[in-house]
Amino acid sequence: MCGSVIDVREVERAADGLYLVAHDPASGRPRLGPRVLGLGLAAALLGELVMGGFVDVSGTTLRTTDQQPFLRRIRHHSLGLTVAGWCSESHRRVTQDRAGEPCPWCGVSGVEVFPDRLNWNTRELIAREPMSRPVIDWLTVLAPTMPAVVAERLEGDGRLTSEYRRGLFRTRAVRTWLPVNVVEADSPRQALRRIAQGLNQQQPGAHQKLLIALVDALQLARVVVADLPDAASAAQLLADTTAHLDDPLRYLVAQAKAAADNAVIARPGYHDPNLHVFGS
């Protein structure tokens, strides 16, 4: 059915990892509040764009580059790889029967560097803005929708499943996401645990470094190092890993941290779940 077998984890994305670390894999309950989590995920998403070369951080502002992300979505099935999605040039759908061939429009075969619709949309949002805005503005704008949007991306990858739940005092049912596979959902955390214990043979990749930096900034390191024999030094090792983060990413993390503090400390306004930047 498909030409090549590709491990989905190769295209691990920082926002996905952060989402999974920030939720309990068994119950799907968040370990952070919506504001703090949203800001962290927004920073992770912008980080994905920066690492893909689709946006630039110049000074304090964010601007798009000439590069555009591809829009081919990868799905992992038990029988192999299925490619289905959209081409960024022609906006045409890539059908399953063409999955093994190189894309007729962009010429790339198999897995792509940046097969992600969320990245495409976010880049478009930034590109359409007539002026370049500071990073903090983008974090603020993206944050309220981020938990749901990243969960939807994970759902699209078959890693989460959603259901509507009604709380004790709620009149409206709320959409909640649950991991499909508890072990798989815990894998980003386990990967970070290995790094924290110094068990990893190779250096963590750029996405993983960004993930670690955000985990550290959002006070989630304790979740990662929980129950380790030497938790303090493990947390320290984790923090040291982020020392070699690139400048734009470091700035993103610092801004997310500042904004998260802001969200915890300052009280009213700011978070309005009814405002969605991603249409309806």
Binding site: G33, G59, N121, P134, T140, E152, A254, P268, Y270, L275
Partner: protein, 488 residues
Amino acid sequence: MASTYEASRVGTMLARGRLGAIPLSGLLLAAVTPLVVVAGVVPVAYAASGLRAIPLAFLIVAAVMAVFLVAYLTMAKHVREPGGFFTYVSLGLNRPLGVAAALVAAVAYCELQIGLYGLFGQSMHDLVGGYIGWPWWAWALLATAVVAVLGVLRVDIGAWVLAPMVALEMVSIILLSLRGLGHPASGHLTMAAFNPRLLLVGGATAAFGIVVLALAGVEQAATYSTMVKNGRRTMLIASIGVLTTVTTVYLLGSWSYQVFYGDKVAQAAADPNAAFALGGTGRLVTFVHVQLLLSIGAALLAFHNATVQYLYGLGKQRVIWANFGRTNAFDAPWIASLAQTFLAFATTLTVVAAGWDPVTGMFYRLGNAGGFGVFLLLTGTAIAVARYFLRTPHQESIAARLVAPTIAAIALLAMVYLVATHYATILNVPPGTPEAWQWPASFTVFAAIGLLRGWYLKARRPGVYDAMVHYQPPTVASPDLQPEGAFR
């Protein structure tokens, strides 16, 4: 997820979550709690200290506060961080002093808040004592439990709920005062309260301390610096507006006491219901009493959050126990919140065991100590603002960046000195009593602990020290790059 974005929504979204002058005023007024001041602080101040210069002291301190706010909010424009006094002192002076300021702030707001439990308990006891015979401390502990739950769930009273609530509060104060002024003890209105000679009486300047307690809360506008429309302009309009309003209301309230009770004001005010006596015995009194309880409730939550905010900041930066920086799924720093509640709980039990009076003992002592702490912070911040603008002028006018902070710093320093040396007058104890120097001196201990901790971090844990102030304002900000709805 829909496939399209609407570009124009970005600006709208950024603008929509922001506070205008009116909701911001509501938040500030709720933190100032004018009714608590008029019904709780002013009569107790008359009774406990025997001072009569209170209306005059309001005018002087409000003027100094206005100058301070101009300087403070000018700096808030350049510092987009909500860290309060910690950020300002850290950026203006240095980080160990910032840590000291944060610790003093946490202690001061905590004292202000815990003191209020005493007043709340007594007021509740007075209001429903006829139906439910609980002692004051039972009500206080009940309030502690409620604040504990609300703090952990992070329930905030929105600006648009607070605004009409405080408006009603204002109306009830004005009604009370007008009725008081309409029934003068001497048969006609007197202006004796405004006689400047009253301030020349020995120790009368200690009234400044009580008055700062009454105005504490106005300085919180800078906490909202990241979320207001038009930045400094809105903050300045709201703070100066609130300052003018509450000063007018306080003047009216404290003057009406003197007119209503005449020369016997000190004795009469000792009655916990002195404020309500102004209103006679009708429905007005019940209305004001309920208003007072609501107002104390809002203040309990506001000062609880202010304390937790500093504990969270310090914990997050690993200056104190890092767990204070942990948040739960409600975005609440729950460990810091529970710690503050526990302290309130323990204090209430101690006060009960020691047999203090809930109002003149617990509320007045702790409140004044907290007020003095805020006084110290204002002074430190004024100096920090002056120094900050000396190093980085930021194209601000000389009046806003140099004259205002300097005047504010000198005036505040003088007032701190006067209050600290006449603290015995505030407590109405003979000079030389240990309590008269212990309360003000306690802050030196906290400041010293903060300073030592800051120096320790600088020497031993430079990573933590460097990360303390995480936002460094951009040095070059060209105006054409600024988005329309955004800050600045």
